[in-house]
Amino acid sequence: MNTNAPVETELLCAACRQPLVLGKVKASYLGSSFEVDLPRCPGCGFVYVSEALAQGKMLQVEQALEDK
């Protein structure tokens, strides 16, 4: 995947006036951390987490780590 391609085309970083692109993001919880690709602003690095992600996959991973 071309990580420089704009994603979430409707969303712009309001501060930098730039569309978000997929980029490496460090996700961490309870002492575990890993890298994932998420939409972020190429200018300021603001990372966007959608509601579907927050309440879906991300919640699953959180709960799995909590029970470890």
Partner: protein
């Protein structure tokens, strides 16, 4: 958790005790399992099950003296299940039983069996299955000679059972009377199933009973001779009237077990407590079952047809306890019963590696005590879960997320925004102190003010006021440290007022103080109100035309004085009431044990089940219960709504929701300070004005996101300019992570009013940042 305590808890759950039928059967045939299979019409599986217990299913199927039926609990609700007739139907459906499979003994030994009756051939069959070589000696010309004359037993049934010995290598010597002394020398062990006759000749080998039969140990069937065992009708003294086929079978089985242990050098006596006919601890609630008569076969000589057998099997309850599981949606949810749960919970705490799968289960119990109330052994899963919570929290292994929201709410109630300790205006001492609790203050701050005014007007010598948190959420969360802190704060405030009697409006506060602060005298508000003069407006005719159904808070389960006082108050108000299950069997609204935070699904199931019990409006005396009913659209009033009426239809008052609950507490303190003590407290000023539709508000409630959380996100976005813009909708998306949780808000700014219109919000605990 203390391992010894865990074992005591486990032993109190009796669900795994056998049903009476299987316990009474000398070889513990699972008649309950048999009936369950037959009820489904599965005769093949039923036969396989029967054969697992019985080596000669066709013979026993025709001749068993069925001690099981005399203890069948169905007899107490109609007639006993005709278990023996069911067994006969099972074997009549197919005579063929699978051959015995010779086991592989590490060291194959040789055993002689003398007497080819039920005890001898059962011993032979069991020893073959264990892998030994068996030779059978029978003085008659046929095996099972004694049974062959029985008119109830077709010879084909005997032959079908004997066919199970095919290809097992067993050797039969019929028409022989062997020399027992020689056998005892030649073989590694000898079993004697000699029938009822006296055997004076054997006095040289073994001890004899006064009537000349071989004396054997009641548990092991061992004689004085180390290699010789005996049993069957020879042991229990048969006359034609006392002959018991199933007892003979049991003797052969128990002797075979002893012989196998002897041959392996193992203890003959260890772990045999469950051997033979027993009683059982299994509790069965007969009241659940309407009486029913046994099915009578159309053709008694041939027994049940398959359809008749199925109908009879359907009459089996089957016997289970599960009283708690039936009463509690939480215990029902996980598909087991306490004994199993306790093991899972203990393992969850003690495992070293791997996922702790029971964490959420432990935190989903409402700690309401209903299970102990209905349990014949008074086992409380609440005690188990609370102990597990404390243990897991102590080890740092319990997910913080389960109770984070509730404990932040507790933190708010401990903060300056809410806490207040004062003597009554104009007094320097307090005879009593009113402690409304955080939830009544959150639900109905006006009622707190009215009650306080009433108490001040009716009690001499000063009524102090204390606002704060009793620590219940910390206790329920297993947070002993936090619980101790809140108690210390409570205690200090109470002492500063001169240690007065504490009057609680909340039954959870009452519980916490009564159970954990023995030095603090405490009384529930309701008996105090019931003893005194009612507020003038309370005696006015109430507008409730229908009777109110009383829901007692679970924390008052064992407080008859409080329950009676509330009923007395209602009576004095002229309110018509009706009971649900009565106070002792009351159930939780889902807030107890913080279950609604750890597991909303289960808590709502419990709440909805309670709601489903009556169409009447509910009356309760716990603010949290009332608001939870309202949250699920159940009309409900608080007893204060009747004592201090305000508005036409208090039962329609909506649940304020979590955000409003906090705001109400803060507002109550400010109002009291201003109105009673002439002290101004700074009103919270916030330039951020929100517009939230009811749908979005309900969604926020479900997600445990407060309007204060939204404001923090919006302030952060304003301050930093960091936000996303959706070019299509024109809405902004902003986020903020004040501590452990990232909140996201989707919003628009109304151009005319400058208000923030909230379109949605969500949160996550995982931290994300752009990788450098």
């Amino acid at each position: 958790m203390d391992g010894q305590q865990v074992r005591i808890w486990e032993s109190r759950c009796i669900e795994e005790s056998p049903p009476a039928c299987a316990a009474a059967c000398p070889v513990h045939v699972d008649a309950r399992g048999l009936a369950e299979l037959l009820a489904k019409g599965d005769f093949k599986a039923a036969q396989a099950l029967f054969c697992r217990f019985i080596p000669f299913p066709n013979i026993i199927g025709h001749l068993c003296d069925h001690p099981c039926e005399s203890v069948c609990r169905r007899a107490e609700a109609g007639e006993a299940i005709r278990i023996h007739a069911l067994e006969r139907a099972v074997v009549s459906s197919s005579l063929a039983a699978s051959p015995f499979r010779r086991g592989r003994a590490t060291e194959r030994k040789r055993v002689a069996v003398v007497g080819a009756g039920l005890s001898g051939l059962t011993a032979a069959a069991d020893l073959i299955v264990k892998g030994h070589e068996v030779a059978v000696f029978e003085s008659g010309l046929q095996l099972f000679a004694r049974l062959r004359g029985d008119p109830r037993l077709p010879s084909a049934a005997i032959d079908a059972d004997l066919a199970r010995f095919d290809n097992t290598g067993i050797v039969f010597h019929c028409g022989e009377r062997p020399d027992i002394t020689a056998l005892a020398k030649e073989f590694d062990a000898v079993y004697l199933g000699l029938g009822a006759q006296a055997v004076p000749d054997l006095a040289v080998l073994v001890d004899l009973t006064p009537d000349g039969r071989i004396a054997v140990d009641a548990l092991t069937y061992a004689s004085r001779h180390p290699k010789i065992f005996a049993g069957g009708s020879h042991r229990y003294g048969s006359t034609p009237h006392t002959y018991s086929p199933i007892t003979s079978l049991q003797d052969g089985r128990c002797a075979a077990l002893s012989i196998d242990r002897l041959l392996q050098g193992a203890s003959l006596t260890a772990n045999r407590e469950g051997q033979g006919s027993q009683s059982t601890r299994l509790h069965v609630n007969l009241a659940r079952h309407a009486p029913s008569a046994a099915i009578v076969p159309a053709d008694p000589d041939n027994g049940y047809t398959p359809a008749e057998a199925q109908a009879e099997a359907t009459r089996c309850f089957p016997c289970h306890c599960r009283e708690c599981v039936r009463s509690c949606p939480y215990l029902e949810h996980y598909g087991g019963y306490p004994k199993r749960y306790i093991r899972e919970i203990y393992n969850n705490e003690t495992i070293v590696m791997g996922a702790r799968k029971a964490n959420r289960m432990i935190d989903s119990c409402m700690l309401c005590g209903l299970c102990a109330e209905v349990c014949p052994e008074k086992l409380s899963m609440g005690d188990v879960c609370l102990s597990a919570r404390e243990g897991m929290v102590g080890k740092g292994k319990m997910p913080v997320s389960h109770h984070d929201f509730a404990l932040r709410d507790l933190a708010y109630s401990r903060s300056d925004a809410f806490t207040l300790t004062r003597h009554q205006p104009g007094f320097k001492q307090s005879a009593v102190v009113f402690y409304p609790g955080c939830q009544l203050a959150a639900s109905s701050p006006e009622q707190v003010e009215r009650v306080y005014a009433h108490l001040c007007a009716t009690i001499d010598d000063g009524v102090g006021l204390m606002l704060g948190c009793c620590g219940a959420p910390a206790h329920w969360a297993g947070r002993a440290d936090l619980f101790a802190e809140t108690h210390a704060e409570f205690s200090a405030a109470w002492q500063s007022l001169g240690r007065p009697l504490v009057l609680t409006a909340c039954s959870s506060c009452y519980r916490m103080i009564a159970d954990h602060l023995p030095e603090v005298p405490v009384e529930s508000l309701w008996p105090v109100l019931a003893r005194g003069k009612l507020p003038g407006e309370a005696t006015a005719a109430q507008n409730s035309r229908m009777a109110l159904a009383i829901h007692d808070p679970c924390t008052t389960r064992h407080e008859p004085a409080i329950q009676d006082a509330v009923r007395h108050l209602l009576d004095r108000c002229g309110t018509k009431t009706t009971e649900l299950d009565g106070p002792q069997l009351t159930s939780c609204c889902g807030f107890g044990g913080l279950a609604q935070f750890a597991n909303r699904e289960i808590a709502d199931k419990a709440l909805d089940r309670r709601i489903g019990q009556s169409n009447s409006d509910y009356l309760t005396y716990c603010a949290m219960c009332r608001d939870n009913f309202a949250r699920r659209d159940k009309r409900a009033v608080h007893v204060l709504d009747l004592l201090f009426p305000d508005g036409d239809d208090p039962a329609a008052r909506p649940d304020p929701g979590f955000s409003r609950r906090q705001e109400n507490r803060g507002r109550l303190k400010r109002s009291l300070l201003r109105e009673l003590w002439n002290e101004a407290m700074e009103e919270p000023t916030d330039a951020i004005r929100l517009v939230i539709s009811p749908q979005v508000q309900a969604d926020l409630e479900r997600k445990l996101i407060l309007t204060d959380d939204l404001r923090q996100v919006l302030r952060h976005a304003e301050r930093t300019g960091q936000r996303l813009l959706n070019g299509k909708t024109g809405r902004f998306v902003a986020s903020h992570r004040p501590l452990r949780i990232t909140y996201w808000v989707e919003y628009a700014i109304d151009a005319d009013s400058g208000c923030y219109v909230i379109h949605g919000a969500y949160s996550h605990r995982m931290d994300v940042e752009a990788a450098s």
